[in-house]
C-alpha cells in the first residue's frame, strides 16, 4: 500500500484516496469550437507515460479535496504532490 502525502493533511495510506487520472487536462474554454479530433483528444487520448506522470488524486476519506501529484510509474514513487491550480513542477523524471 502506498503512503500518499495530501498537500492539505499530510501522509496518509492509499486506502483513503481515489485516483483521478491524468492531470492538467483542462475542459475546453469554448466547447462549441472544437472539432471531432479535438474532442477525441480531450475525452480519450492519454499520455500513459512510462516514467514521470502528472496525475490527479482525491483524498476522498479525508479532506475530500482533489490535488495533483508527480509519480514515477516505473517505481510508483511519489516525487511531489501539489495543490490543484498550481503549475506542474518543473522536474526531470528518473526515467523521463
Amino acid at each position: 500500500m502506498l503512503l500518499i502525502t495530501c498537500p492539505h493533511c499530510g501522509p496518509r495510506p492509499e486506502l483513503e484516496f481515489v485516483h483521478g487520472g491524468e492531470a492538467h487536462i483542462a475542459r475546453p474554454a469554448q466547447p462549441e469550437a472544437l472539432n471531432a479530433e479535438e474532442w477525441t483528444e480531450y475525452l480519450y487520448m492519454r499520455a500513459n507515460p512510462k516514467g514521470l506522470h502528472a496525475e490527479r488524486w482525491r483524498h476522498l476519506h479525508g479532506c475530500a479535496r482533489f490535488f495533483n501529484a508527480l509519480r514515477d510509474t516505473t517505481t510508483d514513487q511519489f516525487v511531489v504532490t501539489y495543490k490543484t491550480g498550481e503549475a506542474r513542477p518543473d522536474l526531470k523524471g528518473p526515467a523521463a
Binding site: L2, E14, V18, A36, E41, T73
Partner: protein
C-alpha cells in the same frame, strides 16, 4: 518439425528421452524483413503464425524484449469465454472460442483447452437484470449462455456458498458451458514452435527502442537493442507497453496501463470443477491441472508499469473468495504477482490500422485478452497482410472514439475478464 504423438513419446522413451530437439531456433535478426511483430506474447506469436500459414508471409520476425510469454500471457488466470454483450464483441470473442476448439490439433501442441464452464455470479438485483440481458443477447448471437438459480449454481459448483446470510448472497448465475481455461505458456510455445517451423524468426531479448519513418511518413525500420531492422510493416502487440511503443511513431492512443494481480494457492486434490467469476465483489477462481487454486483480482487504482500492485487488493479478493467458498479459508497462498494491462475507455480492444502507413496495432485487451489470443492473432495477421481489417475486427478501430461508435462493454459489465 518434430511431431508430438503417442508413438513419438514411446519411441523417445526407448532412447531415454534423449532425442528431443529445441522447439524453435534462436536466430540473430536479419537486416530486413517483410514484416516485424513487436511483442512475443500469445497474440504476437499467433499473428506471426497466421501470417506465415494463411498469408504466405514467411520472411518475418517476432521481436520480444524479454522471454516468450513473459508478459501477460504468462501472468493471467486463463479464463476463456465469449458471452460479451454487444454483437461486435460476440463476433470477435466467439471467433476465438471456435479457434481454441481446434487449436491443439492445428498446432500439434496440447494447449490444454478445457471447456469446464465459466459461471458468473449475480449478487444484486442489478446483476440479475444485467446477466439475464446478457443471456438473451448472447443467444441472439448464437453464443451459449444460460441462467441458473442459486441451487443450480451450487449443483454445478459444489464448494459454492449459497446461504442467504452472506454480505453478497448469490442470487443466481450465468453459465457459459463452452467457456473454460487453457494452459497459458503452452499457447505461446505452441504458436512459437509452429511459426518457427514455417520460417518465422523469433528473437528474444530484443527490445524495440525506436520506429523510423520515411519521408512519406510510412514505417521503414525498427531500432532495437540488437541493431536496426528494416521493414515496411510493423504489427504491435505489446499489451501494457503499447502507448510506449506507438509513441515511438508519434501515435497517441486512448489507453491507460494498470497493474492487475493474481495469486495461486498450494496445490490440492481436485475440488473445483469449473471457473467462477464475481464481477461485483472482484474475485475469479479456478483450479489448475497442477492442483493450485488460481485466483484473480480487480486492477489497482492507479496507472503503473511496475508489475506489482498493492497487497490490500489481493487481500480484498481473498476475503471475497473465503466468503463464497468457506472450505478454502485455511488454504495457504503460494505466489502473488502482477501484470500490466492496457485499458481502453470502453473496455473493448483495438485491432486496427493506425494513422501511420505500415503500422498496425493490437491492444486495449486490458484485463481480458487471453481468451481472445487466437482471434486477435488471426485478425491482426489478416489486417497486416491485406492492409485492411477482417470483417470481424473491422469495428475495433482507433477512430471509433472519434466517431462515437464505442463498443461499451465497460458500461455493460462494469468489469470483466
Amino acid at each position: 518439425m518434430q511431431k508430438f504423438s503417442a508413438f513419438e513419446l514411446f519411441k523417445q522413451g526407448l532412447n531415454g528421452q534423449a532425442g528431443w530437439k529445441p522447439q524453435w531456433r534462436s536466430p540473430e535478426p536479419k537486416a530486413a524483413y517483410d514484416a516485424v511483430i513487436i511483442g512475443g506474447g500469445g497474440h504476437g506469436l499467433g499473428a506471426a503464425y497466421y501470417l506465415a500459414k494463411q498469408h504466405g508471409m514467411r520472411n518475418i520476425a517476432v521481436l520480444e524484449k524479454g522471454w516468450l510469454g513473459g508478459g501477460n500471457t504468462g501472468r493471467n488466470t486463463t479464463i476463456i469465454r465469449s458471452n460479451y454483450l454487444f454483437d461486435e464483441s460476440a463476433g470477435l470473442y466467439d471467433h476465438s472460442v471456435k479457434l481454441w476448439e481446434g487449436l491443439s490439433q492445428e498446432l500439434n501442441y496440447n494447449v490444454m483447452f478445457s471447456q469446464r464452464g465459466v459461471m458468473m455470479l449475480a449478487h444484486t438485483v442489478h446483476d440479475v437484470q444485467v446477466f439475464k440481458r446478457h443471456v438473451h443477447a448472447n443467444r441472439a448471437n448464437g453464443v451459449d449462455n444460460e441462467w441458473l438459480s442459486p441451487e443450480e449454481a451450487k449443483a454445478y459448483c459444489p464448494p459454492l456458498n449459497i446461504s442467504d446470510n452472506m454480505r453478497y448472497p448469490v442470487l443466481g448465475a450465468a453459465l457459459q458451458r463452452r467457456g473454460g481455461t487453457a494452459r497459458h505458456d503452452a499457447v505461446a510455445w505452441g504458436y512459437a514452435r509452429a511459426a518457427d517451423d514455417l520460417g518465422v524468426d523469433i528473437i528474444e531479448n530484443c527490445e524495440v527502442t525506436g520506429i523510423r519513418r520515411n519521408a512519406a511518413g510510412a514505417v521503414e525500420a525498427v531500432e532495437t537493442t540488437k541493431g536496426l531492422i528494416r521493414t515496411p510493416k510493423i504489427g504491435v502487440s505489446a499489451a501494457g507497453h503499447t502507448s510506449v511503443v506507438l509513441g515511438m511513431a508519434g501515435v497517441r492512443l486512448p489507453l491507460e496501463s494498470y497493474p492487475l494481480q493474481a495469486l495461486v494457492s498450494e496445490p490440492i486434490k481436485p475440488v473445483f470443477p469449473c471457473v467462477v467469476m464475481s464481477n461485483t465483489i472482484h474475485a475469479y477462481i479456478s483450479q489448475s491441472d497442477k492442483g493450485e487454486l488460481v485466483i484473480g483480482a480487480g486492477t489497482d487504482i492507479y496507472t503503473s508499469y511496475t508489475q506489482r500492485g498493492g497487497l490490500h487488493i489481493s487481500q480484498h479478493t481473498l476475503e471475497a473468495i473465503c466468503e463464497l467458498f468457506p472450505a478454502f479459508r485455511r488454504m495457504r497462498m503460494l505466489r502473488n504477482w502482477g501484470g500490466i494491462v492496457d485499458v481502453t475507455p470502453d473496455r473493448s480492444p483495438i485491432v486496427a490500422k493506425t494513422p501511420v502507413p505500415g503500422l498496425y496495432v493490437n491492444c486495449g485487451w486490458g484485463t481480458g485478452g487471453f481468451k481472445a489470443t487466437p482471434g486477435a492473432a488471426h485478425t491482426l495477421a489478416w489486417t497486416i497482410a491485406k492492409d485492411e481489417p477482417h470483417p470481424i475486427n473491422a469495428p475495433f478501430t482507433i477512430e471509433r472514439f472519434r466517431d462515437g461508435h464505442l463498443i461499451d462493454e465497460a458500461a455493460a459489465a462494469a468489469v470483466a475478464h
